[in-house]
Symmetry: C2
Subunit: 110 residues, 2 copies
DNA sequence: TTTATATTTTGACTAATGTTGAAATATGGA
DNA sequence: TCCATATTTCAACATTAGTCAAAATATAAA
């Protein structure tokens, strides 16, 4: 990942409403949630939510699909993995000494 | 880590100059770098750099210490670990299925 | 003590961000 | 077709972020 994509992704998550939206979408899993559900759950105006969803889409952190008259949003795990990878490289200095897998991902569950 | 601390840390990193500063400090290791060195390396005005360093300090991502007439900044790995932990929890949904240690930290090197 | 270097602070300014209500668009159902 | 619901777009506005030059502060060296 390039520094510019990292900055875009970080900026997308650096806002309470958007970070909460992302969390809700991760919890919801691959099925995702309709925009209206997100607005209800976070008690944020639909126009405001739409603005934030566009930011998350632009950063590639979420995907959207039309389902009837609903628009369903879902988390894009690959983008988050790419961001974590970028940050980890910049935290670990090429080793896992400074940033152990435990510290950053919890113990592996094989 | 609470959502508010996460947002502050993400916002601190969501800016090209600041992310570059952080990268330089991680590369520099525990000895850190003087503010002037950072300014030179990134060709940014000292006033501007000072502004950004304050943001990183406020987010707890870097530390500073006075050394003669220099102020030495260094990366605070614990804060980055905490942020990675927060993001990983919100990416992995409690398992390592969606966000494997490999994807996020590289293979463990025991 | 005086001078030079390093860093931070301040104030002015421009650009970007986030919120709101109203209007526009799209789809489903009566 | 007409109406209701879901979502997005728009314009206005307030707030925040970032940059710059100049001044202030702190320390080292002459």
């Amino acid at each position: 990942m390039e520094i510019n994509s990292a900055v875009v992704a970080l900026a997308a998550l650096a806002q309470e409403t958007r970070l909460s939206v992302y969390r809700m979408l991760v919890e919801a899993g691959p099925d995702g949630l309709a925009a209206g559900r997100l607005a209800d759950g976070l008690s944020v105006a639909s126009a405001s939510l739409s603005f934030h969803l566009k930011e998350l889409l632009h950063a590639g952190l979420v995907r959207s699909r039309q389902d009837g008259r609903y628009v369903i949003y879902s988390a894009n795990y690959e983008a988050m993995n790419a961001l974590l990878g970028y940050l980890t490289e910049n935290c670990c200095r090429g080793t896992t000494a400074a940033c152990s897998p435990i510290a950053c991902c919890g113990p592996a569950k094989p």
